[in-house]
Symmetry: C2
Subunit: 436 residues, 2 copies
């Protein structure tokens, strides 16, 4: 060990990055956590912000507050522009007008940049789809969803009303399923009495999935259960369909035979495809590490980059090489990122202590997805749950991992009140969320 304190730079305050920093508590290191935002977002609940069930402040927590008592940590509000792996430097740019040092030096670097939705090469579609990834995108989605009901109530034209009340959700993964279910509850329950000219229950909600079932990461029997739950909420599940066009007036879908169908809709929720953070691609370029089509970089079994044992990459922007040398794709979920974050911290500590360390091994604790009120599916080591029991499991797990006692209490209250009253408390249409 050198005399100067070992400097660790962690890029990204998501599930992975936070676990790295927390895992270095009390270690003889100086940690710098760099994030473009000043808060951690509990991303699995972002879709509930998009439908007015929760407020942004209830699923976020200031990064500085998380680590205020861990004195070996400083937080930088900045964006990463580039890496210089030879000089061991991260180059930074300013965020939110806050000045930032141009670069920060490291002895160990952990990059946890996350991922975004991919539009399968059609980046022009991004202008038409609404997403539920960041807080801002979720607030925009909330405004668009609620304004669509307003527009349907106000328009004198039957065809317009039909298009405003048609919601297309693209992607049958957990987020797509959750969004479709929540829009169903919004239309069937929450908004039921709110309008005078329309019946919100007449809304059409289409869930479009390219493969032959939703929730492909679950066993087929749970996919079927999820589809039945969705149908009860008024959602039409369209499997084997891909989106081949989006514009102001709707989407064009194609089935396996290439036959196309036009759907008039004013709100398209995009929850399909994954593209890794550009930081993954950059690390791949700099180290020659393999990258897949989604831009994920392949890391060694100990989560480091080839030839750069001091640089780690974790989370849903990486694939991990296993002991046979094969790049393995783990699910893009919080537990993977958290376990990888803890592993990176352990490796850094072991090295400083001169101890050996094990390769990373993912311990799958199970898979959860919720559809709506008392409806969820869970696959826990082959134990398949659905309905109320799965929903309670989902609820408790999410409350448990939410950061901050107050957030847990507030979310629990919102959920309890929603359950009892079918209400959704945070239904603001922001001025920045003009629908098309």
């Amino acid at each position: 060990m050198q005399n100067a304190t070992h400097r660790v730079v962690v890029v990204g305050g998501g599930f992975g990055g936070l676990r790295v920093v927390a895992g270095l508590r009390g270690a003889p290191v100086e940690v710098t956590l760099v994030d473009r935002r000043n808060f951690h977002l509990f991303q699995p609940l972002t879709y509930q912000v998009a439908t007015g069930a929760l407020s942004p402040g209830e699923i976020t927590y200031p990064l500085r507050a998380i680590f205020k008592r861990q004195r070996n940590v400083r937080v930088l509000l900045a964006e990463v522009r580039d890496f210089d792996l030879d000089a061991r430097v991260v180059r930074l740019g300013s965020m939110s007008g806050v000045p930032t040092p141009e670069e920060v030096h490291y002895d160990s670097l952990v990059v946890a940049g996350g991922s975004a939705y991919s539009y399968f090469g059609h980046d022009d579609w991004r202008a038409y789809g609404v997403e539920v990834k960041s807080i801002e995108s979720a607030l925009a989605a909330r405004g668009r969803l609620l304004a669509a009901f307003e527009a349907a109530e106000a328009t004198p034209h039957e065809a317009d009303r039909y298009a405003w009340l048609t919601f297309v959700v693209v992607g049958g993964g957990p987020t797509g399923v959750e969004m479709a279910g929540q829009i169903g509850e919004l239309a069937l329950d929450t908004l039921r009495r709110d309008f005078r000219n329309i019946d919100p229950r007449s809304a059409r909600i289409l869930l479009v999935e390219a493969t032959d079932r939703v929730l492909t990461s679950f066993p087929p029997s749970l996919s079927s259960k999820a589809e039945r739950s969705l149908q009860r909420l008024g959602v039409t599940v369209l499997t084997g369909r891909t989106v081949v066009g989006i514009d102001d007036d709707g989407v064009t879908l194609a089935d396996g035979d290439g036959a196309t169908e036009r759907v008039a809709s004013r709100v398209v929720i995009w929850a399909a495809g994954v593209t890794a953070s550009g930081l993954a691609g950059r690390l791949g370029e700099l180290t020659g590490a393999e990258r897949d089509r989604a831009g994920r970089v392949t890391v060694e079994p100990d989560l480091t980059l080839p030839g750069h044992a001091e640089v780690f990459a974790i989370g849903d922007m990486v694939r991990v090489r296993d002991s046979n040398g094969e790049a393995k794709l783990l699910p893009g979920v919080a537990p993977v990122a958290m376990q990888q974050g803890r592993h990176a911290a352990r490796v850094i500590r072991a090295r400083l202590a001169g101890d050996p360390h094990e390769p990373f091994r993912y311990r799958d604790k199970g898979n959860l997805a919720t559809i709506g009120r008392a409806a969820a599916v869970a696959d826990i080591h082959g134990l398949k749950l659905s309905g109320f029991l799965a929903w309670m499991t989902w609820l408790l797990v999410h409350l448990w991992y939410l950061i901050g006692f107050q957030n847990r209490l507030l979310v629990l209250i919102r959920w309890s009140v929603s359950f009892l009253t079918h209400g959704r408390g945070a239904r603001l249409i922001g001025t920045g969320s003009e629908p098309r």
Copy 2:
């Protein structure tokens, strides 16, 4: 009474407008409530959103949800473009991209358009000041405040750090006092351990007031108590000073002798001056009713416009003529608007029933302002309270008037947790809130 149902149009879903609509529950009328937003804002707590103590969803409530069971009400998301008092028509424009009818006919009209801050003729200052009036302005203020601490932490220049940590609040009314107090708590308590390069307690908070004391609507003894409470929170109260300039780098203050002083500051909170909604001016133009310098229109003792007994104007955009014919200015607070709203509804009901009605009379229930933790002042019919007792009164009154059981519960929890932990849960810097 004519055969067709009597049509009431209410403009504005604030404290006044809501009471008109609620006061017409069960009446033989068709009510149309027009608002530019889809929610009611509990404006007295907006400043707590600006400092991260509360989330927007906790102090707002969807207008449709408030009236979902009052079947004689429909809600229109639209902005008022103009009135045609002869044709009894309100002309509408579209908001948030939602289509709207071009006009709506009324038999009775109640206009409750509210007010905005005035920059005393310097509308160019509006670009530099942040406000805490709408939800959007409060979120922008929150981002600016928190980003200023980030910038102070990050900047290597001592002079910049000093300017970033200097907060100027303009206006010593309740909002200015509350904001200054909240910034004080933020700096002294909430953010105390969050930074590594700065001590947030070194922040300078200047409260600028043109007259010789803060809270001029209270007795002088309570103003003094409020000033002492502010000083304990690190606020410097500058009375007898006016702002004569604002730019990117700070404000210029002048004292009574015309001597000026330059204050380097990057965040100026503007909470001074009142300018009535443009709707007040328009009603004045159309009816020849008197208007004051702040643009308020003078209404008759029954709150109607001269020559138009079917048109009411209420809230802080009006002055009311008393029985001596003198235009009287009531405080621009929620209780005035609520009482006027209830009165307008009563007059409309009385007329429909052929009953006589009384002129409007304001029943002053007292005056409350809070400064911070366990610090408030209250003046209730000459009973002067300060400290903890006034603070509890303030707390209970605000919880009581908040709309929605869930909002009350959530706010109560946020306040309790803040009280116990000195924390503030909703400290997000939005991407739209770039500081200068």
